[in-house]
């Protein structure tokens, strides 16, 4: 038994969870795949663990208003293999990179968002797709846009007496294309640097594009790169070969990397190395996402 002693409760309703969260030092546990290592290292010593796994409503994974509703206890692996989730290609591309299969079987999508590790994949995906997070509190429910949700490293706008109950990811529309890539020391470890990319190429000469970088700052860093991409495809539009796009993008990629990477680095990767990664990954994935958006290709990593 490595964690420090804690009180434990597993309520049957969200209301009961909220009243437990009213006590000092209470912490929610869903899949526990990020929390338990922290408890084992005794970096956290919550007074009470409030286990939300006995609440049926929180386990719902369903199609709601042009998107996917993912309840707070829905496992990452369940989403990865859910046929409906195929309508959100970026989610499908990112999930295999979330930890290892042994962690995704218990780890939850909402838990990953609420934990808000700066090197985690799902917060970047949520920001890239403009996901909406539902947060319940004794004062009622509120909807939080992903862009407002992540505040700093492992810090979100969720208050101690609040509970994340679900997240809503909008389905991809036609003319959208996505890219995802990360570099980690071994598959499944936290990313040294990674990018999630969304391109909308309804007008192939004037695409809109967004890059979200993770592992390089204290939270996911979102950048609108529409102008950058548009300049790379301005002459040939949808006919532009992928390698040509990548070549044009590589010019501005160092500037993007300088802008987004503000981590001081660590033993596994210096700031300069992470900038190199972001420059390479963002131009590559942006070009790929544009090709997918214009040619209706299936996304793969």
């Amino acid at each position: 038994m490595k964690p420090a002693p804690f009180e434990y409760v597993r309520p049957g309703s969200v209301d009961d969870v909220l009243s437990e969260l009213g006590r000092d030092g209470a912490k929610v546990i869903a899949g526990g795949q990020s929390l338990v290592p922290i408890l084992a290292m005794r970096l956290a010593r919550p007074t009470t663990l409030v286990d939300i796994n006995a609440i049926g409503d929180l386990g719902v994974l369903t199609s709601v208003s042009k998107g996917l509703h993912v309840g707070a206890t829905v496992r990452q692996r369940a989403v990865q293999h859910d046929p409906t989730a195929a309508r959100i290609p970026l989610l499908r591309m990112a999930l295999p990179w979330v930890g290892h299969r042994e962690l995704r079987s218990r780890g939850t999508v909402c838990g990953s968002l609420a934990h808000a590790d700066s090197a985690a994949e799902l917060p970047a995906v949520a920001c890239c797709l403009d996901a909406t997070i539902t947060v319940a509190s004794p004062r009622g429910e509120r909807l939080v846009a992903a862009s407002e949700f992540f505040v700093a490293a492992m810090t979100t706008s969720v208050q101690p007496d609040e509970l994340v109950t679900s997240v809503h990811f909008p389905y991809a529309t036609t003319n959208q294309g996505f890219g995802f890539a990360e570099i980690a020391r071994r598959h499944g470890d936290f990313a040294l640097a990674g990018v999630a990319v969304r391109v909308d190429a309804r007008d192939p000469f004037r695409p809109t594009a967004r890059v979200v970088c993770f592992g390089v700052s204290d939270k996911p860093v979102v950048r609108d790169v529409s102008a950058w991409l548009a300049s790379a495809v301005a002459t040939e539009g949808a006919e532009t070969p992928e390698m040509t796009i990548r070549a044009s993008l590589s010019d501005g990629s160092a500037d993007l990397a300088d802008d987004v990477v503000d981590t001081v680095g660590d033993a596994h990767g210096s700031t300069a190395y992470r900038r190199q990664l972001i420059a390479a990954l963002s131009s590559r994935e942006l070009a790929r996402a544009y090709i997918r958006a214009t040619q209706d290709q299936v996304e793969t990593t």
Binding site: P5, Y8, H100, L103, G188
Partner: protein
């Protein structure tokens, strides 16, 4: 995924009820909330095949199946798996009927020290069960959740790829599921039971020590022994020994009674020594029938080497003239290294132990202190006697001479 029951607010030094099944055996426990599943499997349930490495979710040693999906047992509190079906490496195959994955790991030398093997087997099972079409080039990434420091992974990938190629239509189910009696490890193994929650945990172990029944494995026993001995003592005198459990245990070579749990349940130790080999089984015995002329015993014990022995033994005493004929009939199931010790030799040793038991009962029935009394040393004698016995059976003058020489040398040593 199964949904756990609700749990009332429980104090840090309190206990939470949890029910789940492991390898087909239903389990019901009360445990402190912070106890990890890995600890419960190993300490409470004696399933030490699940190894513990980093205890923070990195190394993958403790990987087991929870509701069919690979999970880290160190990242789950045991109370969280309420209602789940667990499969550990013990459930995957039997020593004489390995799962194809186990067989393949052996054939491809996918293990060296073996510490990571349970983790690799369980995660490979999950992978091939859910993604039977997985291609060799993806295996390194798919198996990245378990670390191996010996093999360099190539042989592991060979082993898993081999099974993947042979079972594209579906991986065989785990082969060793069924009702078992799971016995936790001795509370003595706990160190420094200082704070209350640890003391509480220790208390659970002792409480949890007596199961409802001892369940023997199905299938062929590792060995069957049928020994009939002729005793000089009358059946009444033998009956006196039978009725006195403490005296009876002193007649068993190497056996020691440590606790009487009531209702004919006993906890004890049995030590067997064969040359340099020292086995010490801690376990339970349940006397289903306990009369002056017959006994029906179920016993189960774990050895520190990870071996497990289970036995069903029936004794029948029949009056034979002025003496008594004592018949012992045993079915013994061995798991672990002791099982690989050699069936015939194990059988010979067991048979010799029953003969010694009969002699000791005869002594006890005559009012003498039985000679088998708790000193395991008889085991050296047992081994020699076993070897001599074999020679005798082989027969022949030369061997008889060799036997005499051996006996002479032994008597010199004594």
């Amino acid at each position: 995924m199964s949904m756990p029951r609700t749990v009332e607010h429980t104090a840090a030094d309190g206990q939470v009820s949890v029910e789940f099944s492991v390898n087909g055996t239903p389990v019901s426990l009360r445990i402190p909330p912070r106890m990890t599943l890995a600890d419960v499997l190993r300490d409470q349930l004696g399933l030490t095949g699940t190894h513990i490495g980093c205890e923070q979710g990195v190394c993958g040693m403790c990987t087991i199946l929870v509701d069919g999906e690979a999970s880290r047992a160190c990242l789950l509190f045991a109370c969280q798996v309420d209602g789940s079906e667990l499969t550990t490496v013990e459930g995957l195959g039997k020593p004489d009927d390995l799962h194809p994955l186990q067989e393949s790991f052996g054939r491809h030398h996918g293990l060296q020290c073996g510490f990571c093997t349970p983790g690799f087997l369980m995660t490979s099972y999950d992978l091939l069960d859910h993604e039977p079409d997985v291609q060799r080039e993806d295996l390194a990434a798919e198996l990245s959740g378990v670390l191996c420091r010996c093999t360099g992974y190539r042989n592991i990938i060979d082993a898993v790829d081999d099974v993947a190629c042979n079972y594209r239509e579906g991986l065989p189910e785990p082969k060793n599921l069924g009702h078992r009696t799971l016995i936790g490890r001795s509370p003595v193994a706990m160190t420094g039971a200082r704070d209350e929650s640890t003391a509480a945990a220790a208390a659970v172990r002792i409480d949890g020590v007596r199961p409802d029944e001892i369940q023997l494995p199905t299938g062929e026993p590792t060995m069957s022994v049928d020994v009939t001995s002729t005793l000089e003592s009358s059946i009444e005198d033998v009956g006196r020994v039978f009725s006195d459990v403490r005296l009876l245990v002193r007649c068993l070579p190497g056996a020691e009674l440590t606790d009487e749990l009531g209702d004919e349940w006993y906890r004890g130790r049995a030590r067997v020594a064969l040359g340099p080999i020292r086995l010490s089984f801690n376990g339970l015995a349940h006397l289903l029938v306990h009369e002056s002329d017959r006994m029906h015993v179920l016993a189960q014990g774990n050895d520190a080497s990870g071996g497990q022995a289970q036995a069903e033994i029936q004794f029948l005493a029949v009056s034979d003239g002025t003496g008594t004929r004592l018949q012992a009939d045993a079915r013994v199931f061995l798991v672990g290294r002791i099982a690989g010790f050699g069936r015939s030799l194990a059988g010979d040793v067991a048979r010799r132990m029953f003969e010694d038991f009969a002699t000791a009962v005869d002594q006890a029935a005559r009012g003498q202190e039985p000679s088998a009394d708790a000193k395991p040393p008889s085991a050296f004698r047992i081994l020699i006697a076993t070897l001599l016995d074999r020679m005798r059976r082989l027969g022949g003058h030369r061997r008889a001479t060799a036997r005499r020489q051996l006996e002479n040398r032994l008597s010199e040593k004594r």
